[in-house]
Symmetry: C2
Subunit: 155 residues, 2 copies
DNA sequence: GTCGGGGTTGCCACCGTGGGAAGGTCAAGC
DNA sequence: GCTTGACCTTCCCACGGTGGCAACCCCGAC
């Protein structure tokens, strides 16, 4: 019976903010919503379903691009499960790569930290060494290897 | 003797891009550079030093805010090492929190993935269950617990 | 009719980074 | 001298994901 609901109802049913619902619509992740005469968006159960799907995927760290792909597969009755699995595996590898980077940062930071007295004296020898790394021949070559991870905006 | 160099030389000596050097200057992380009559920025060894410091800190995942704080401490001859340590520990805890979130995502994703056949058949039961989570009484409460991690832009 | 809670659009912000346009400058070579 | 090419400057735009705010319309209850 797919009762129709307005955007706030869809927010409550899906856990996705109104802002993001509109955003996903604009980005083409979900279809343009039907509208009332006054222009209000209308949603049905299927839409809420899709929104929850999106929320779950986001919580798992999938990028919008990947979510779009997953949604396509999800809507396709005849999808080969291999494709779904491939996407998921790729994402898993991504998660692992990020975890490894985090781990490396942690390791690099941990040793100097433990060597730091943490008192009123200014010395914090290892941390300072850490601050000034390669240091030696001056003019380092344009290194350019970089990490990935950055802090997100979610709450 | 602090020979002066232009921005490209500073880039080569520090490993920070010209774009980001200007950005850090604008953000107040580093002091406004001296300029030639023509308006070209001039850098000395101390500046390169600071830039390397920044690059290292970024590679360790510190946010610009934290880096600014670290720089202040670094420049303060009389800094109490306790403050440095506190910042570093806070960041370590942050890294650990992120790692835990990544780990949780990985765990949530791994089980369904292994249960997915990965062939031509459309079924991928666990993944679909994953897609549609709480599902049951409809209208879930406005959940609002969210992850953190998002992919960064670095290379 | 008025009020409050919704709805709509659109723009701005964060963070870190890169890309590019439009224009000025400098040193080397003819 | 003049050209060329490398380099500098500023300013704006983009990504991703999210929130905030402003200005305005709409609808139901009193």
């Amino acid at each position: 019976m797919t009762r129709s609901m307005n955007i706030v109802a869809a927010v409550r049913a899906s856990g996705v903010s109104a802002k993001m619902i509109r955003h996903y619509e604009e980005r083409g992740l979900i279809a343009k919503a039907r509208r009332t005469a006054a222009g209000y968006r209308l949603y049905g159960d299927a839409d809420v379903h899709a929104l929850r799907f999106i929320r779950q995927a986001r919580d798992l760290g999938f990028s919008t691009q990947h979510i779009a792909a997953l949604l396509d597969l999800w809507r396709d009755r005849r999808r080969p499960s291999a494709k779904v699995k491939a996407l998921a595996l790729e994402h898993l590898r991504d998660l692992e790569r990020k975890a490894a980077e985090l781990h490396a940062m942690k390791a690099t930071l941990e040793h100097p930290v433990h060597g730091c007295h943490g008192d009123d004296r200014p010395q914090c020898p290892n941390l300072e060494a850490l601050a000034m790394p390669v240091e030696g021949g001056a003019t380092a070559q344009p290194v350019r290897r970089r990490g990935v991870l950055r802090q997100g905006t979610r709450r």
